[in-house]
């Protein structure tokens, strides 16, 4: 109990004292995970909607692959992104390995199937006749997709929360492609791992609590948005 109490005290102290290192780590975490979530939304929601609405051979297989992607192990994604970005790898020329951009890429790869898979389910659960009724109102295919996305916004906002939750909390890929470099690629999860391995439990607990607090605040805001859309 004392360990936890010390952790909470340390968290408060680090926050109140505006510890520059903690602030930097927190800001980078939010930036990296925010951009990765945004990228996954930009790809996952439109593609998921199109996948739900279009009929083509192999559609079930493709949805199966997307659903499988929802459970991608972060370390496997980290491994593949590392290989891709490695100096002699296909994208090595860009020099992205061990940069925040590499973490964004890896986290986007993790979050996109989650957002896409939930979007497919969200749009498919709408009555089929709704799509036809929207088309009968004179909607283009794109307009119909947009209107259906709006109709499914409650579960789609759940997809946003799930996508953000997956990236803000993952550690394997971030360590592998980011390298946990102090002041450069160290984020809340990788810093927590490091402090734990060093036996600095109070700092690790403090970082963990900060991570939880930010995750809670962001999800609370998204939930407010979601529940407002229920009316």
């Amino acid at each position: 109990m004392e360990l936890i109490a010390n952790g909470v005290n340390e968290a408060l102290r680090l926050l109140v004292s505006l510890d520059p290192e903690v602030l930097g780590i927190t800001a980078l975490s939010l930036e990296v995970s925010g951009v990765a979530t945004l990228l996954s939304l930009l790809v996952g929601i439109p593609v998921g909607t199109a996948l739900a609405l279009c009929d083509f051979p192999g559609k079930r297989l493709l949805i199966g692959l997307v659903n499988t992607g929802m459970g991608l192990p972060p370390v496997v994604v980290g491994l593949f992104v590392t290989v891709l970005l490695w100096r002699s790898g296909p994208l090595g020329a860009f020099g992205l390995l061990y940069t925040p951009a590499a973490i964004i890429i890896a986290q986007s790869v993790l979050a996109t199937p989650i957002v896409m898979g939930i979007t497919v389910a969200a749009v498919q659960q709408l009555p089929k006749s709704l799509h036809q009724q929207i088309l009968a109102l004179g909607a283009s295919r794109g307009q119909a997709g947009w209107m259906l996305m709006k109709e499914a916004r409650l579960p789609i906002l759940a997809a946003v929360m799930a996508g953000f939750g997956a990236v803000i909390s993952e550690v394997g890929a971030a360590i592998m492609v980011g390298g946990n470099i102090k002041g450069h690629t160290r984020v809340l999860t990788t810093a927590t791992v490091l402090e734990t391995s060093k036996g600095n439990f109070d700092v690790a607990i403090a970082l963990g609590l900060i991570l939880l607090a930010f995750t809670f605040v962001i999800n609370l805001a998204l939930t407010q948005l979601q529940q407002r859309g229920k009316a």
Binding site: L130, Q132, G138, Q143
Partner: protein, 249 residues
Amino acid sequence: MTGERRLVLEVKGLRVRRNGFTLEVPSLALAEGDILALIGPNGAGKTTLLMALCGLLKPAAGEIRFRGEAVDPASLRYRRRITMVFQEPLMLRGTVADNVEAGLKLRGLGRAELRERVEESLERFQIAPLAARSAQSLSGGEARRVSLARAFALEPEVLFLDEPLMALDPLIRKHIVRDLEGALSHSRLPAVFTTHERREALRLADRIAVLEAGRIVQEGTKEELARRPPNEFSESFFDDLGGPPPARC
């Protein structure tokens, strides 16, 4: 009926396949102001025909001509000149007014014209007091009215109605039929509608086409069909009229 007035819609050699069912319509025509009722037993192909005419089902063969020109029924250009009211009116999130203006917004109508058309349509179907109400909280009858108002607000050149008043209380149904009849009469809009209700078919339609197992087995005026019903279904549809069918109000 159609010879003296300009044809709006012509169907030639239409074949539509849907879930193992095949609909074949060698020819069908609709002129300005025509109101055609499609009757027939369940599974005869009424909804399939309407969906094909609305571009919601791709025909396997045949041609649809709109005002003399062959059209791709799935094209946006054609779909924006017609509309369809469905058996089950599904409301979009938002208010009743949001729903009625949805199709107009898709067409990029100016705010003033949009408001005018929405107000007119709400008034016509007596749902103006519901304009600000959530469309998810409507009764069945109110939702049917919104669905009709949403279609009429678009001022389509042809209106398709697929059993638009199914499963409604008889009194509410009667009132909505009256409003629908008024709207059709006022707009002189050519329409095709499906129904199982004899009185509605006789009251609203100029012509009736009888479908059976994916074929139109007879098409003609109400009087023609009442005199020579083509099958048992039509016979029962007309059998207790006790005289010539009532003239359209």
